[in-house]
Amino acid sequence: MKILVPVKRVIDYNVKVRVKADGSGVETANVKMSMNPFDEIAVEEAVRLKEAGTATEIVAVSIGPAQAQDTIRTALAMGADRGILVQADGPVEPLAVAKILKAIVEAEKPDLVFLGKQAIDDDANQTGQMLAALLGWPQGTFAAKLELADGSATVTREVDGGLQTVKLRLPAIVTTELGLNQPRYASLPSIMKAKKKPLETKNAADLGVDVTPRLEIIETREPSRRTAGVRVGSVGELVDKLKSEAGVL
């Protein structure tokens, strides 16, 4: 069984993000980057399946700049077998990511695609569902538990106020929730070994996908903080302010 695990390079979750002064985005220069934590869980789940003998090959895919190689190497160090980097500069929207992944899935023909339920940078939570819709595959989103049987996967999902168990026919898409597992730290020997594992580089344009953003973000800013209130001296002043400033009277 072949498992495809898309991974994303994001700002490390420990870093306090700073918004650029002109509101065009967040500061990414000289900031520690790492693999999206939800994707780590997806890689871990795939590696556990391989260790259990269910899976035979794990392919890690990343879409992003050349530095996303490091993210793929992290996945390789955790136990993935080979990597594919689809180079694309600038932000890539979920729909474009899903289209690129569709092209890769069609080339690689995996039995399962494990994705993190969302990336911690834009919190969109769209790619998994969009990929499932594009491929027409069954999906198990927000998986908290996964069991594989012959030709099917049983996924326990965390939905609002409870758990839902769905059975998926393979091939299928699974997006991972936090409770699925505890990702491992890559050991030093495995990090060294990961450097020798094969990594193929492709281009988004070669796959026939246009990655220009279609949703224009006008502004990125810090959420407005709650400001201190005003103290009024008398009831008359309060009524006056309610009339003129608040406009409630």
Partner: protein
């Protein structure tokens, strides 16, 4: 009510004629002095305080007399404009409601309609596509109503039909709630239409949508694209004048349901936190038999709560306390058993849509707050409810 009050002693004094020996009174003398206190007419006060159609009085505990200010009741109802009609909308905003669960629009669907109203403004029309024909649609802000067949719950087949619907109506925006069903449908619709999706909008206006990203540390603002999902509990539902919700016939082939939901395991109500629970039954000082209360809560599938008195006595855990110093509820229904309704307790249930009270005291604040009240000993009501539930179960 403002007829001057007469003090008989003072009136008699005013007629006194100054004389020696026996007291003499001249009753033909000019009228007496007027006391300052206005004379009350209790019958008229009572009539003014009657609630128009309910046949009961409106009491106001904030006033020392206990009497409320008379309300202009019938006149106000007649003067309010009933329905806002947008005959020829300049553009359309389509709202797709989630599969209906309790026979009415859910809170998130109302919020999605509120967001659509904000985007439509005064000229645009809001079209609601919901599973059941609901009269609440107009009040929630829908101008037109498209009835989708019931039982369609899997997003794959719904997305096919909705793509066709979007093609027919050509709405400027399509709004869905960011729930398990709505969110999934929005992503599939985005794929089918090949358009970007703005997921989880928290502030909605025609000038821009705002969503929180990077673990809620950063706000992202964009012009409203075609497909938008609205984060639950972030956008206010429509609260103004009702819209007409005119039924709209569209020629869409609704596919048959391919997947039917088989089983949905609800969380154990007793283990839910009070703030999240939909149905809370609370116990007060009027109850001593907590065993009966526990079995009632289990039978009703309610989350147990308690008043401060009961928690202080150590009969219920502190986490179960409802009120200002306990949990402020957002429940749909609150059942108060033997709770008088201290102001601090009533603060905790201010957000509850329906309140049912059981109390022996007709004048308890909780009875006044409740829409439905049983004036009886809660101790006796509990086994009665249990018996009725058991009977119902036996028949079913």
């Amino acid at each position: 009510m403002t007829r001057p009050r007469i003090d008989p002693r003072q009136a008699r004094e005013a007629h006194r004629v100054i004389s020696v020996g026996r007291s003499r009174f001249d009753l033909a003398a000019k009228p007496v002095g007027v006391s300052r206190r206005p004379r009350r007419d209790p019958r008229r006060e009572r009539a003014e305080l009657m609630v128009a159609d309910a046949g009961r009085m409106r009491l106001d505990r904030a006033r020392p007399s206990g009497m409320a200010q008379p309300l202009p009741q019938r006149e106000a109802a007649a003067a309010a404009p009933s329905v806002r009609i947008i005959e020829n909308p300049v553009f359309l905003v389509l709202v797709i409601a989630d599969p209906i669960e309790n026979g009415t629009l859910s809170a998130v669907d109302r919020q999605a309609l509120g967001a659509a109203r904000a985007l439509a403004g005064g000229e645009g029309g809001v079209v609601l596509c919901a599973e059941a024909l609901t009269e609440v649609a107009g009040r929630a802000g829908a101008d037109r109503l498209i009835t989708a067949p019931a039982g369609l719950s899997d997003p794959e087949t719904r997305a096919v039909a909705l793509e066709e619907l979007v093609g027919l109506l050509q709405p400027r925006h399509v709004i869905l709630p960011e729930t398990a069903d709505g969110g999934d449908l929005a992503r599939r619709l985005a794929v089918r239409l090949g358009e970007p999706l703005f997921a989880g909008a928290e502030q909605v206006s025609p000038r821009g949508l705002v969503r929180r990203v990077r673990g809620r540390q950063v706000d992202q603002r964009a012009m409203p694209p075609r497909i938008v999902t609205v984060e639950p509990d972030m956008v206010a539902p429509h609260s103004g004048i009702a819209h007409e919700a005119r039924p709209l016939e569209v020629d869409v082939r609704w596919p048959g349901a391919m997947v039917t939901p088989a089983e949905r395991i609800r969380p154990d109500a007793a283990s839910l936190s009070l703030a999240e629970a939909d149905f809370v039954a609370a116990v007060g000082n009027g109850i001593s038999d907590l065993e009966a209360f526990r079995s009632l809560v289990a039978a009703l599938g309610a989350t147990p709560g308690a008043s401060r008195m009961v928690c202080d006595a150590g009969l219920m855990p502190r986490a179960a306390q409802v009120g200002a110093s306990g949990t402020v509820l957002s429940a749909d229904c609150y059942l108060a058993l033997g709770i008088a309704g201290a102001p601090q307790h009533l603060q905790g249930i201010a957000g509850c849509r329906h309140v049912v009270a059981v109390n022996t005291d007709l004048h308890a604040a909780m009875i006044e707050r409740a829409e439905l009240a049983i004036v009886a000993d809660a101790q006796a009501v509990m086994p009665a409810i249990l018996r009725l539930l058991a009977e119902e179960e036996r028949q079913a």
